[in-house]
């Protein structure tokens, strides 16, 4: 019983991370209809930026509120800039071209980043994973059983990241469906040429979306690093993939869908590992995905665009 | 259905028949109790204000949408629940109101996609036996293609000629190897007709074929449509907002409004039908006609 609780907590914690990454994925997809395979790797770079900042700040400063804030700002700002550059130079030139071409450049960038960061030349960190400093002092906010050897533990950062995820979700939802910018985004996502005829500065809208998405990735990455206490060049590949799956389960392009999908995925994985064989985790995760899609081809919340013949 | 459909001329019955067809989109009844029957050689019109349900009617007849009530028969065969391509194999072809060509393919290939050699026409029908037989035939086809059997090559040649002929009929020979997306609007419409004819239909449904054509081109089109009807002797149903064209070529006209059939008959009757004038033509139409005629 208590074990069930612990699994629930773990599952939601994992799902939260997926959710945060998935939000960025879904946003970029929403406006460009591009599966941005580099998203996970952008996240990874963001985490290293935060890591570097933390080291510079040193033990004391890094865990002070201002330190933490600075770390997040640097990482998210850096990633926003990176996202801007990637979009500007790798994606924009291909906007009029078949979507697959942009996908390839995305893959190219993903390779460049994930393999590039494995080098131990110059500032590059090398392939060895690093311990990520505990910038948020882990505190047990709730325990069950005797405090020495508790049965269930709930950590402050678990609650924290869940809150962040939910707030961000609502924020994005508002941005996309309630604001003029959001309307512009959706217009651009369908046809940027006609959108321009409405006076929408398509390039700026797309750049901005990318920057927001990348910043989100960085933030998510940091929470991820805090959760699993490490940072490595390959961390993006795996989380990126899972986040994408989560986004699709929820109906890619749909903001709340991304979060729900992610939490579901997190729980499914946790329970497979906890109660069945962990070796089947990924199989079950993808099986779950396929099942969802067979029942609802547009994902849980996505609607397959009504096409008038 | 297993046995290939009985030939149109053998049976006197209608090639295309809709009986009490209705369809609903959420709350909206886009088409209600729609009846229609088209025989070989017919040239009928379907008109009505925007949003009346004309295109929807086409979609129901061709199997794009499933009717919520009623029954559709193509050359005597009930086709409710059939897939569009199966219905097409029974001899029903259409064009689209907002053009849907295979944009990156050449004009010739657009038509060739639709073309089928006489022999190769095999409606798969529903029911397991038919499916299996269809599948087997298909795989035979693949092998013939892979082994480049003489029969296959002959068929390819035949298809090409067939397609070229259709382009010629539609006056598109000069665009033979141009990508469909680069053709101007009017020619795209004609190409759609050529493509539809490629499937050797018994009934042809045209959705606003004259849209985007100037008066002169419309005049030519009228001649063309009649010519098609006679040369390929098939039944034709036209949706069109250009009264000159509709009244000019159609022997019988059905008028829809809000999904309801509000009138049906000879052009002359329809033209002077009070309800039709109110709902669709508008009074000024009478004068303009009076003026023109």
């Amino acid at each position: 019983m208590s074990q069930l609780f612990q699994h629930l907590i773990n599952g939601i914690a994992t799902g939260t991370i997926y959710a945060l990454v998935a939000l960025g994925y879904t946003m970029v997809y929403g406006v460009l209809k591009l599966i941005n395979f580099a998203h996970g790797d952008v996240m990874m770079v963001g985490v290293y930026m935060g890591y570097a900042t933390a080291l510079m700040l040193g033990r004391q400063a890094q865990s002070s509120p201002w330190g933490v804030l600075l770390i997040f700002l640097v990482a998210m700002g850096g990633c926003a800039l990176m996202g801007f550059l990637i979009e500007r130079f790798a994606y924009r030139p291909l906007r009029e071209k078949p979507r697959l071409t942009a996908l390839i450049t995305a893959i190219g960038i993903s390779f460049t980043l994930s393999y590039g960061f494995q080098l131990d030349i110059g500032f590059l960190p090398g392939s060895a994973p690093r311990a990520f400093p505990q910038i948020i002092k882990p505190v047990q906010w709730f325990t069950l059983g005797d405090p020495e050897f508790p049965d269930v533990v709930l950590w402050n950062w678990q609650v924290l990241s869940l809150l962040v995820a939910v707030v961000l979700m609502m924020g994005l939802q508002y941005l996309v469906y309630r604001t003029r910018f959001g309307r512009a985004m959706r217009a651009v996502s369908f046809d940027h040429r006609v959108a321009a005829l409405m006076g929408i500065p398509t390039d700026r809208v797309i750049s901005l979306t990318f920057m927001i998405g990348s910043a989100l990735a960085a933030g998510a990455g940091l929470l991820y690093a805090i959760k699993d206490t490490s940072v490595s060049p390959l961390m993006g590949l795996y989380v990126g993939l899972k986040a994408f799956v989560a986004a699709v389960i929820g109906g890619i392009g749909n903001v709340p869908g991304a979060v729900v999908g992610a939490l579901l995925l997190g729980l499914v994985e946790e329970f497979v590992v906890g109660y069945a064989a962990s070796t089947w985790r990924d199989a079950v995760a993808f099986g779950f995905l396929i099942l969802v899609l067979l029942v609802r081809p547009g994902g849980l919340f996505g609607r397959v665009a009504a096409e008038k013949v | 259905m297993d046995s290939s459909p009985p030939e149109g001329d053998v049976m006197s019955g209608p090639l295309l028949e809709a009986v009490g067809v209705s369809i609903q989109f959420g709350g909206l009844k886009a088409l209600s109790d729609f009846n229609l029957s088209i025989h070989k050689g017919d040239l009928q019109g379907l008109i009505g204000p925007n949003g009346a349900g004309k295109t929807t009617a086409f979609n129901v007849l061709t199997g794009v949408y499933q009717p919520t009530q009623g029954e559709v028969r193509v050359s005597g065969q009930r086709v409710n629940g059939w897939l569009p391509h199966q219905i097409n194999h029974l001899g029903l072809a259409r064009t689209f109101q907002n053009i849907r060509l295979f944009r990156a393919l050449t004009a010739l290939d657009n038509v060739k996609v639709a073309c089928r050699g006489q022999g190769a026409l095999h409606p798969e029908g529903v029911g397991l036996g038919a499916k299996v037989r269809g599948a087997v035939r298909n795989y035979q086809d693949w092998w013939r293609a892979l082994l480049l059997t003489p029969g296959f090559q002959a068929e390819e040649r035949e298809l090409t000629q067939q397609a070229e002929h259709l382009l010629e009929v539609m006056g598109l020979t000069h665009r033979r190897n141009e990508e469909a997306r680069n053709l101007p609007y009017g020619e795209q419409r004609r190409l759609e007709i050529a493509r539809a004819l490629g499937t050797r239909p018994k009934v042809l449904l045209l959705d606003e074929p004259a849209a985007g054509m100037n008066t002169r081109e419309k005049a030519d089109l009228m001649v063309l449509i009649r010519k098609i009807r006679d040369d390929f002797n098939l039944g034709i149903l036209v949706i069109e907002h250009d009264m000159k064209l509709v009244m000019g070529i159609c022997e019988k006209i059905t008028v829809l409004d809000h999904g309801e059939t509000i009138a049906r008959g000879e052009p002359a009757e329809v033209r002077n039908d009070r309800k039709v004038i109110e709902a669709y033509l508008g009074d000024s139409y009478l004068e303009s006609q009076g003026g023109a005629a």
Binding site: M198, G199 | N50, Y185
Partner: protein, 251 residues
Amino acid sequence: MSEAQVKVLGERREFPPLLTVDGVKVSYGAIQALKGVTLKVGKGEVVALIGANGAGKTSTLRAVSGMLKPVGGRITLSGEDTTGAKAHTLVPRGMAHAPEGRGIFPNLTVLENLELGAYLRDDADGIAADMEKSYGLFPKLRERRKQLAGTLSGGEQQMLAIARALLSRPKLLLLDEPSLGLAPQVTETIFRNLRDVNAAGVSILLVEQNAHLALNFAHYGYVLETGEVVMAGPGKALLESPEIRKAYLGE
């Protein structure tokens, strides 16, 4: 490519200059769509552009509204050179374009589509008023306010496209075959209302297959053939001319 000599009929009524298109060339890859088109639209003037299929009417509008970059020539809007300017920079300067193929946003509702028409405006009540106007103009749109635009009927989509263009309160309105797929009655209403719009000082550059309708409506007309202006003159004058009657009115 040298300008083909344009056959000009009759006298042009004077309007203060708004749009000038001077020897504009456009090509799609190898295909040269416009071989040097020259035309003018004055403030408050209605100009019709007619021509056979593939003559280059749509391409001309696209070039004017910045949807595509001309490879040659010059375009000015109220004095400023706007050749090759990005489309979204022209909207604030009073340009509105209802493009060929309607270009509505199928996954947005009718309402959202209209709101996008007023993207650059922030006079809430002004917008509301104009919405009401367009609903008055096309009652069907009010019925379908919440429906996804993609599921509208062809004609309804056409109405939406025109209404959306009007919502930006343009100085110059580009219409590409507005009557396409519209019931005759609706066509009349639209043109009647366009008359009012124009009376309110909006200039209109109109591409229309129905030459009779267009030339009756327009102050001035140009005839396009294979990417060049071959004929120009007041609408009525053109309607009179035997060539036009033969080529476009099929008489």
